[in-house]
């Protein structure tokens, strides 16, 4: 069963005219958001996107942009209370999030 978070917008933009169909986005996306159709990539499952940014980072043609971040409520609340960007402290000492990969 494919789990998806709430419906609606995702911070993922794709410019089809820059795409050369190299398949890198399909290769790195952990949630099957992209597929190659007719020699070019296309978004086929936007709501599966978790905004990890792997596709944008690895697109050699700059066709994809993602405002990536942490999908972690603890980090977001932490950021709101301190008036900073979402911050879970994962890379510091204590940690409130991040599953084990």
């Amino acid at each position: 069963m494919k789990l998806k978070h709430i419906s609606g917008e995702r911070n993922l933009r794709f410019e089809s005219d820059k795409c050369k169909g190299c398949q890198m986005c399909v290769n790195v996306c952990p949630h099957g958001v992209f597929e190659i159709v007719g020699g070019k990539a296309g978004i086929v499952d936007l709501e599966a996107c978790m905004e990890c940014g792997a596709c944008a980072k690895n697109c050699p043609f700059g066709a994809i942009s993602v405002k990536s971040g942490v999908g972690c409520a603890y980090a977001i609340i932490n950021g709101m209370l301190k008036g900073t960007a979402p911050n879970c402290g994962c890379s510091d000492s204590s940690s409130g999030c991040c599953g084990e990969k």
């Binding site: 405002k67 971040g69 709101m80």
Partner: protein, 354 residues
């Protein structure tokens, strides 16, 4: 080499430098540490402890170059993080393979989280390729990276800077051997991150352990309240503490396990639902007054829901934008409900007759 002494070697090595190549001359074959695939009892105990939230922030191995089996100039190079849980699952998953393993310094964080933070990133990978003189180790100029490292690494930039071509392997270490055997072919299943029942159960331990400090504060507060009333303190405290325990079990255990089956795609609503069921089940055994039950109805679902929201951080599919929307919609109402419930709860305890 005995496994226990091996572990000691890895952990005592200098964590800031490339463990492999200290003092090597420019054209000398770089140094590396030989490891094997066998996990020791200590490795299993260590893994269990981190699963329970103990010492999770300092469970690492030294970055650098490792050899597994008997690798040569045409053997594969697999890149990974220096989180020991990752390192152990990688080396045991590729048992029987002759491989080089290049460990990046991710400060003991797993590949995916480190990639998100950029520590498992383009720069660090380029640095380790150069520091460990990888071009003297193999002839093929190919690296296999875990697919989940892709959010931190730009493959085309690594190739431009070092000549090494990055190949994104499967998400899970357990698929690496078949990935290599198939000539680096990856099907949709190997590309997909799962969040099945087993994965969800694995993260329960940490979720619940992180809630324990809050439970201790609540327990202490109820204990003091009952002391003020001077009643059979222990028994009364235990029974008064019950709804809070139920709420946290609902949010940290029931929600993760029942995740796909709880209604809607919203974590807050899933948590409210699980909390409401827990409240109704608990109400059957509650000896509370109507006021006390009202308090429980306000407290249990809201705490369960907040903990369910917190669980977004342990899942593999929540985006930042969607999680912000959930937090904005639910956090304040839940907090208000829990606090109002707590006030009513205290009032109820204080106003109870002996």
């Amino acid at each position: 080499m005995q496994n226990s002494s091996l572990t000691a070697d890895i952990e005592s090595a200098d964590k800031n430098a490339c463990a492999c190549c200290g003092g090597a001359k420019i054209h000398e074959f770089p140094q590396y540490l030989a490891i094997d695939s066998k996990l020791s009892l200590a490795d299993y105990i260590g893994a269990f402890k981190v699963r329970m939230g103990m010492g999770r922030s300092d469970y690492s191995v030294a970055p650098g170059l490792y050899s597994l089996g008997n690798p040569g100039r045409d053997s594969v190079v697999i890149v990974s993080s220096n989180y020991k849980l990752t390192f152990d699952s990688l080396r045991s998953a590729i048992e029987g393979l002759d491989a080089w393993i290049l460990i990046l310094d991710t400060r003991g964080v797993n590949v995916w989280c480190a990639a998100g933070k950029g520590t498992f990133g383009t720069e660090e990978l380029i640095r380790k390729i150069n520091d460990c003189k990888l071009s003297l180790v193999v002839d093929h100029f190919k690296l296999i990276l875990p697919q989940l490292g892709a959010s931190g690494v730009a493959a085309h930039e690594v190739e431009k800077a070092t000549g090494f071509k990055v190949i994104y392997g499967p998400v899970y270490a357990s698929d690496i051997k078949s990935f290599i055997a198939s000539g680096y072919k990856k099907d949709a299943k190997m590309r997909a991150v799962e969040f099945g029942l087993i994965e969800r159960i694995k993260v329960i331990g940490v979720e619940f352990v992180l809630a324990i400090p809050y439970l201790i504060y609540i327990f202490a507060a109820i204990f003091i309240l009952n002391m003020l009333k001077g009643r059979g303190v222990i028994a009364k405290t235990l029974s008064d503490f019950r709804p809070f325990l139920i709420a946290s079990l609902s949010g940290t255990c029931a929600v993760p396990v029942l995740l796909p089956w709880l209604p809607t795609r919203s974590f807050a609503i899933k948590g409210l639902f699980a909390g409401a069921i827990s409240f109704l089940a608990g109400a059957l055994f509650s000896k509370k007054s109507a006021v006390g039950r009202l308090a429980e109805a306000l407290i249990i679902p809201s705490i369960s829901s907040m903990l369910a929201l917190n669980f977004t951080g342990a899942t593999t599919y929540t985006a930042e934008s969607t999680t912000i929307r959930e937090v904005k919609a639910f956090f304040k109402p839940l907090l208000i409900s829990a606090i109002a419930g707590a006030f009513i709860y205290v009032f109820d305890i204080l106003s109870e007759k002996r």
